[in-house]
């Protein structure tokens, strides 16, 4: 009986250790997804602000750009947006799907033009 209880204890302990590490990993990943989601949302809001006010990125630099390194032009905006989107894709586990998508040549926009 003692031996059986010892085995149960060791099994439960090992399972608890594995589960704790797994929960921690999932938690970290979810936090990363949330962070990237927020960054993308804020970048798009910034873009909207530039559009609405007909001001340039440089004009509102420092006023509404607290969360990012200051974005001064369209190129910097695009670089920041792509960087966060790629990080987001990686965090949601969509890296392989993205690769297939790009290799398959399906990445064609219907309205080609400047900006995003």
């Amino acid at each position: 009986m003692k031996r059986f209880m010892r085995v149960i204890t060791v099994v439960l302990a090992l399972a608890a250790l594995v589960q704790t590490v797994y929960v921690y990993a999932v938690d970290c990943n979810n936090a990363e997804i949330k962070k990237e989601e927020q960054s993308i949302k804020k970048l798009l809001e910034l873009k909207e602000l530039v559009k609405e006010g007909s001001e340039s990125f440089a004009d509102i630099a420092g006023e509404n750009q607290n969360e990012f390194p200051i974005i001064k032009d369209e190129n910097e905006f695009q670089a920041a947006l792509i960087s966060h989107m790629l990080k987001y894709l990686e965090a949601v586990g969509g890296k392989e799907a993205q690769k297939k998508f790009l290799e398959g040549g399906q990445f064609v926009t219907k309205c080609a033009g400047p900006g995003i």
Partner: protein
């Protein structure tokens, strides 16, 4: 031999803790709470079945032992938001309580809160560690000390009490 009334208190206490552990497991689905429940129900059973002590410590020692047993309840919740520290704290709790559970299984009906002379146990985990119960609690509580600076002082006090209980137990076993 004196009448052992403390065993009923131990039984009620441990079954109560076991029920809380089952409830927490139901809420969170964390296996750690199953481990706690196993330990608590086993301890409750052993308390119920235990034989009266041949020799008991004095009242002051008994009171201090109960204070020491209750001390983990005063640890404060985490103030740090560093995920790695929180993980380390959880892992220490699992390792600590695994040692405590193994010690409980070995002690069997010799289990007690207050130091007393019952059957001498030297099997299982007691082959390698002389006082696994206190070591296990110390490790588990170290995890709590890592996640809140105020808990460090509680851990120091708690560990000192464990050390003192260990010495008192040793004296009783020799005597």
């Amino acid at each position: 031999m004196k009448r052992d009334s403390g065993k009923y208190f131990g039984l009620i206490l441990m079954v109560g803790f076991g029920a809380i552990a089952i409830f927490r497991w139901h809420q969170t689905h964390l296996i750690f709470f199953l481990l706690l429940a196993l330990r608590d129900f086993l301890a409750g059973y052993f308390f119920m079945k235990r034989t009266p002590a041949k020799l008991k410590a004095g009242h002051l020692v008994s009171i201090m032992s109960y204070v020491s047993t209750a001390m983990p309840l005063i640890y404060l919740p985490p103030t740090v938001d560093i995920k790695a520290l929180l993980l380390a704290s959880d892992l220490l709790a699992i390792v600590g309580f695994s040692i405590v559970t193994l010690a409980t299984i070995e002690l069997g009906t010799s289990l007690g809160i207050s130091p007393a002379q019952r059957e001498y146990v030297s099997s299982g985990i007691y082959k390698w560690i002389k006082h696994p119960m206190y070591l296990g609690y110390g490790i588990a509580e170290l995890g709590l000390a890592m996640i809140n600076p105020i808990n460090i002082s509680i851990w120091v006090m708690s560990s000192s009490l464990y050390f003192w209980r260990k010495r008192t137990e040793q004296n009783l076993l020799v005597g």
